[in-house]
């Protein structure tokens, strides 16, 4: 159920990428796509009534290991978020340059190259 909702979020992003004509809308759709995947990865690692994977002196290591959520997905998502940020920044830079050249964000009017 939860995974299906996450997939729906992913597909909403994919829909935006494929259907929208405005460059900024496409960038927004890519951001949504990335957050959907990040969300999915964190959900994989969640343990019901779990605790954060940060040890403290008060906690018994055995109890910690049996109750903590999965740390790997969290490390992966940290990496993925930064990658997404880099791509977004570069895409926005590209979109702004394109605006400068064509005076529009509409992909229909930008179409110079034939598929």
């Amino acid at each position: 159920m939860h995974y299906a909702l996450c997939l729906a979020l992913f597909l909403v992003g994919l829909y935006g990428v494929m259907v929208k004509r405005n460059l900024i809308k496409i960038v927004i759709s890519l951001v949504i796509l990335e957050s959907a995947v990040n969300m999915f990865i964190i959900m994989i690692g969640y343990r019901k009534d779990g605790i954060a994977p940060i040890m403290s002196k008060m906690m018994d290591p055995e109890v910690f290991a049996s109750r903590s959520v999965d740390p790997i997905p969290q490390a992966l998502v940290l990496t993925a978020i930064v990658i997404g940020l880099g791509v977004t920044a570069m895409t926005v830079a590209l979109a702004m340059r394109l605006y400068e050249k064509y005076g529009t964000y509409d992909i229909k009017e930008i179409r110079n190259l034939k598929g």
């Binding site: 299906a4 997939l7 909403v12 954060a52 940290l78 880099g86």
Partner: protein, 189 residues
């Protein structure tokens, strides 16, 4: 509590649809930030404080960048979609993926029961049991990020470096010169 998570996801989907479908530009940018903050809340809820800190700030930065990209060029509204036929084909295709996804996702472990609970060989078990002794870091996520899987983090830092150099290269005003002209370094963009 799992219902709360479902509600949060539904909220994010609605915000995403608003972001994609609204004609008002500022509303679209703000809605996509709402999706981001929805995921921040979800990360806190799913016991991932390390992950939650980064998107808070990243979302603000993306908001600033997107508003900069949209507002300063003075555009207010967006124009519509690509042609109707292509849109229908896309929607049909996405529906097929969705139905296939729902069907196969039954094979995944249920939400709330991570795979490491079942798999005896999962590396996560080793990280949780020995992380502190192996690396000296009490924050196991940091231990994974900067010691066990530090090579990924090097790659991640490189990605950021690449995109910055790339963005600078894309934004520079003068891209071509005559072969005989000397190289000039300019920061005015």
């Amino acid at each position: 509590m799992l219902e709360l998570m479902g509600l949060l996801l539904i909220f994010m989907i609605i915000a995403a649809i608003v972001a994609i479908e609204t004609r008002d530009l500022l509303a679209a940018v703000i809605s996509v930030t709402a999706v981001g903050f929805g995921s921040v809340i979800a990360f806190f809820y799913m016991r991932a404080p390390d992950v939650a800190i980064v998107p808070i700030v990243v979302e603000v930065l993306i908001l600033v960048i997107l508003i900069r990209a949209t507002l300063r060029v003075g555009l207010k509204t967006f124009v519509g979609n690509r042609d109707f036929f292509g849109m229908m084909v896309t929607i049909a295709m996405l529906l097929v993926i969705f139905l296939a996804g729902i069907r196969v996702f039954n094979d995944l472990p249920a939400f709330g029961e991570p795979v490491m609970a079942k798999m005896m060989d999962a590396p996560s078990r080793i990280y949780l049991a020995n992380g502190l002794n192996d690396t000296g870091a009490a924050n196991i996520v940091t231990a994974v990020l900067l010691d066990y899987r530090a090579y990924d983090t090097l790659g991640e830092a490189t990605v950021l470096f690449t995109s910055i150099i790339g963005a600078i290269a894309i934004i520079r005003k003068k891209a071509r010169k005559k072969p005989s002209e000397p190289e000039v370094e300019e920061w005015t963009v």
